[in-house]
């Protein structure tokens, strides 16, 4: 398949993620949108990896492998990020009894 399709799909997913982060007020949904952005990048990297592999496989059987490798790192880091993030959201819920980010307005001068 043409590489442009993958690029367009990833950009669309990435933009949906950004729009979600900017408009939603619920901390958990904001988190889901961030995951969406990261997964858009994963899709893009896998597509590019395949593309570079097909292009360079004759010269080097491992061509394009680092793109796929990177995806694993991103998945691990995203999981770590979410676990810390959810812990912070739980603390927020204990303090203000809500996960609405509009309640986070005390630091302002």
């Amino acid at each position: 398949m043409n590489i442009e399709y993958y690029i367009v799909l990833s950009i669309a997913l990435f933009c949906i993620g950004i729009a979600g982060v900017l408009t939603r007020r619920n901390a958990i949904i904001i988190f889901m949108c961030i995951e969406l952005m990261l997964n858009a990048v994963n899709l893009l990297l896998v597509a590019f990896s395949k593309m570079h592999h097909l292009k360079g496989v004759a010269a080097n059987p491992n061509a394009g492998i680092d793109g796929q490798l990177f995806v694993f790192f991103i998945m691990v880091v995203a999981a770590a990020e979410v676990s810390v993030g959810l812990a912070i959201i739980v603390m927020m819920y204990r303090n203000v009894h809500s996960v609405d980010v509009n309640f986070l307005n005390r630091l302002k001068h």
Partner: protein, 479 residues
């Protein structure tokens, strides 16, 4: 990997081991004091390992790490900052938290992340280092969980940092698409052979600049800085202001130099705009602040604007000046945050300027130390801050970057106003404050000693900079 590579990597292995050691100490239920002292000794060990490793350099662990004199300088700077932050942390957390120990695990992990950034020469190591740093910072910022503001600052940083790393990844993917490689040197080679001005490459670099700008709190991406600086515990604020920014700046410099981005006029223009905007916005917004922590946040935005002026030339002189600038900047900020840590009460951090009124009449030494730090930030002669700013100006003028240099001079004058305002508050009429519970004097002694040592260092940098500059030059030649 061979023996030489292991030996060169030893400082970083020790940093990683430091957090494991702290975990074990906690498992054996040892006291906060023991952990604090062990942490300090471990950081000293890292410094010794760095000095040992400097004889072996440069060593490349292909393709992800490149350990050279440049990396060594930045790692040394980072470890020094963390040593001081660790010293300040004891008195701060001992009286506030029932669980102050896990803090050190996170602190050392964050340092490891920043150190990995300084040696990374591949997108994977860049990303892992950056995320090690950020994930530890999320938890560190929200560490005092019973304070509403800490959690608020934590969530703000978390959401924005996560978005910025998504941008970084997207930018990396674009550059990967264009060049088929993730290693800096290979990318540079590919770009030379192909037409480097393609849209994909420029878009990718732009998206990476967004993420880097966020981490360094450069002007259009600075909105988190003041809130996070205010809400985070003061030692953590000091860590964000120094170690995290030094690490990110190190990788920015390496990427910029290896790729030779100074050949792209577009990229230069982007950084020029960022620098000018940071200088103007940072200094103007600092004028109205009533809280010292927020004021320092805006001042550090402005300072990274100044630093970018030295960074723009993209040659060896620029790097040397940048290292000197970061050294004097981090000493100064550590002094300022150290004073805030010392004065903070159990309930809240002493950020409000009203609380500093008449400090000189109550605690003359502390007030004098803070005054000196502020004078250095303002760039008054005989302090390190003056020479650092002077070198930046000189590099800018040599490269005939007249516009940013002019902005630098004008905004420095504006900056002088708010620093002097704080200093005049220190000498105002004193208001009585309640006496607070005191800890074991040993820890106050170490904190005061480190403050005094840093002040001496700052003045030494401001009067006899030659030794330091020669050392920096010698290290930068190892590559």
């Amino acid at each position: 990997m061979n023996g030489l590579q292991f030996e060169a990597l030893l400082p970083y292995t020790l940093l990683a081991a430091a957090s494991l050691v702290v975990i074990l100490l906690i498992a054996f239920r040892l006291s906060h004091t023991v952990i604090q002292i062990t942490g300090f000794i471990l950081m000293c060990a890292v410094m010794v390992a760095l000095l040992q490793a400097s004889a072996l350099l440069p060593v490349a662990i292909y393709p992800i790490f490149q350990i050279d004199g440049f990396a060594l300088l930045f790692t040394g700077l980072l470890v020094l900052c963390v040593m001081v932050v660790g010293l300040f942390s004891f008195i701060y957390f001992e009286e506030r938290e029932e669980n102050p120990k896990e803090y050190y695990i996170l602190l050392f992990l964050g340092t490891l992340g920043a150190a990995v950034l300084s040696i990374s020469s591949h997108f994977i190591s860049l990303f892992i280092g950056l995320e090690l740093l950020s994930v530890s910072l999320y938890a560190l910022i929200a560490y005092l969980r019973n304070r509403n503001n800490a959690v608020e600052a934590g969530i703000k940083y978390l959401v924005l940092a996560a978005i910025s790393s998504a941008f970084l990844l997207f930018g990396m993917a674009m550059i990967y698409m264009e060049t088929g490689s993730m290693e800096f040197a290979t990318i540079a080679k590919k770009l030379q052979t192909s037409n480097g001005h393609s849209i994909l490459f420029i878009t990718g670099t732009g998206m990476m600049v967004v993420a880097i700008g966020f981490k360094l709190a450069l002007a259009p991406f600075h909105l988190w800085a003041a809130d996070v600086y205010e809400g985070a515990p003061t030692p953590v604020t000091a860590f964000i202001a120094t170690a995290s920014k030094i690490g990110v700046f190190a990788v920015l410099l390496r990427f910029f130099q290896t790729i030779g981005l100074s050949n792209y006029p577009m990229v230069i223009t982007v950084f020029l705009v960022l620098a000018v905007a940071s200088m103007i916005i940072g200094n103007l917004l600092a004028l109205r602040q009533q809280n010292l922590k927020r004021l320092l946040a805006y001042s550090s935005i402005a300072h990274f604007g100044y630093l970018l002026v030295a960074f723009l030339p993209g040659n060896a002189a620029g790097v040397q000046v940048a290292v000197f600038y970061l050294l004097s900047y981090s000493i100064t900020l550590l002094i300022a945050f150290g004073v805030i840590t010392l004065l903070s009460s159990r309930e809240q951090d002493t950020g409000d300027l009203a609380l500093f009124r008449g400090l000189f009449w109550k605690k003359p030494v502390t007030a004098a130390v803070l005054t000196l730090a502020l004078l250095s930030l303002a760039g008054i002669p005989l302090t390190g801050g003056f020479l650092a700013k002077f070198f930046v100006l000189a590099t800018g003028a040599q490269q005939q970057l007249w516009f940013p240099v002019t902005v630098l001079v004008i905004t420095s004058v504006i900056g002088l106003y708010y620093y002097l305002r704080v200093i005049s508050t220190l000498f105002g009429e004193a208001v009585p404050t309640p006496v607070k519970k005191t800890l074991h004097p040993f820890f106050y002694l170490t904190t005061y000693t480190s403050l005094i040592v840093m002040v001496v260092l700052l003045c030494w940098l401001g009067t006899f900079p030659n030794d330091v500059i020669e050392y920096i030059n010698r290290q930068l030649l190892i590559r």
